[in-house]
């Protein structure tokens, strides 16, 4: 009887250790994610790209201008977005106020202490710091390391692996923020 309990305990310990390794790797080392949406075209595909992002650089402060980062959205905290860092704290950032209509009207902003300015590569269809302002650096979760060369996540295996890993390790399905063309025109 004791041997059964002992075996059950050993198996549970094995599962717990495996989960621990998975969690530590996903939260502190690197994570797999599926990034989709129009705001980072042409860097990231509209229908989705498999990306590998590492979590060490943001912790040690090694994120800089030009990096593509995964950031927790300041508007919807359950959502995570992929954008490019355009300005670090203290930088002066110039951006077009209305890229659909005018090439001339700029706005200049100085990024406050402890914040970063993020923008999507596709400025015509991206909700980013131009809408919600500079983002605290602590919201930066990971830095992009690698993007799959097989474009598009229509491959069922890739999508399944991402769903599984994001479900197991807590919600890292990346949404690259959408903003329909009609919405911006209507403003």
């Amino acid at each position: 009887m004791w041997s059964i309990i002992r075996e059950a305990f050993d198996k549970t310990l094995l599962v717990a250790k495996a989960y621990g390794i998975l969690h530590i790797t996903n939260s502190y080392l690197c994570t797999v994610a599926l990034a989709y949406g129009p705001s980072m075209i042409p860097t990231i595909n509209l229908t989705g790209d498999l990306i590998l992002a590492e979590r060490i650089s943001p912790r040690i402060g090694k994120v800089g201008v030009g990096d593509i980062v995964i950031v927790r959205s300041p508007v919807v905290p359950r959502r995570v977005v992929t954008k490019r860092v355009v300005g670090m704290e203290g930088d002066q950032v110039t951006y077009l106020l209305d890229p659909h209509n005018s090439d001339e009207v700029h706005s200049i902003v100085v990024v406050p202490r402890g914040h970063v300015w993020i923008q999507g590569d596709n400025i015509y269809n991206s909700k980013d710091s131009r809408d919600f302002g500079p983002v605290p650096y602590a919201l930066v979760e990971a830095k992009l390391l690698w993007r799959s060369f097989v474009r598009g996540a229509s491959i069922p295996v890739c999508k399944f692996a991402c769903d599984w890993s994001s479900g197991m390790c807590g919600r890292l399905k990346i949404l690259v923020q959408c903003n329909t063309y009609q919405d911006r025109r209507g403003k």
């Binding site: 530590i24 959205s73 300041p74 402890g114 605290p136 919201l139 807590g170």
Partner: protein, 167 residues
């Protein structure tokens, strides 16, 4: 000599396994952290002696859905220094209008943000100095005081009167 190495190796293995299981638990369920400073007096650290900091239990299950309530005490990373963690009480949720008693300002808390303040009237590093903060900065909710024994117990949810303007 070899026996001592064996003991050391087995002890190292046990610590490693403990860490492997302990890290997901502290990240996903609950952890115990010390509270420093007196910005949350009298709820935490009512006396000035820094040797006897309060220790509190922080639960992380709230981070699945980020559904906080007014009056919750939360631990969050500071918006001006990403390495620092602060403990304050949530006064306003998205959409609330929060009034400051000493000025005539009334601030509307934007979508996805919250207004946090320390319980102590002395202004501290909270929303009175850096404004509303994104809810994504939160890294847990304080539920119990676990040390010192005479003040062990639940941390209640309470909102100071007259701060929230009726919407």
């Amino acid at each position: 000599m070899a026996a001592a190495r064996e003991v050391l190796v087995s002890a190292a293995k046990k610590f490693f396994v403990l860490g492997l299981i302990g890290v997901p638990i502290t990240d996903r369920f609950a952890s115990v952290v010390p509270v420093r400073g007196r910005s949350m007096s009298p709820t935490f650290n009512p006396e000035t002696n820094p040797l006897f900091d309060d220790r509190v239990m922080v639960e992380k299950l709230c981070l699945r859905r980020y559904n906080f309530s007014r009056g919750d005490v939360v631990v969050f990373r500071s918006p001006v220094d990403h390495k620092e963690k602060l403990v304050k009480r949530i006064i306003g949720l998205p959409g609330d209008w929060v009034g400051t008693p000493h000025t005539y300002d009334v601030v509307k808390v934007p979508e996805g943000h919250c207004w946090v303040e320390g319980d102590n009237e002395i202004p501290s590093m909270d929303s009175r100095s850096f404004g509303p903060i994104p809810l994504g900065l939160a890294s847990g909710r304080v539920v119990r005081i676990v040390w010192p024994p005479q003040r062990m117990g639940e941390v209640e949810r309470k909102v100071p009167e007259g701060r929230l303007c009726p919407s």
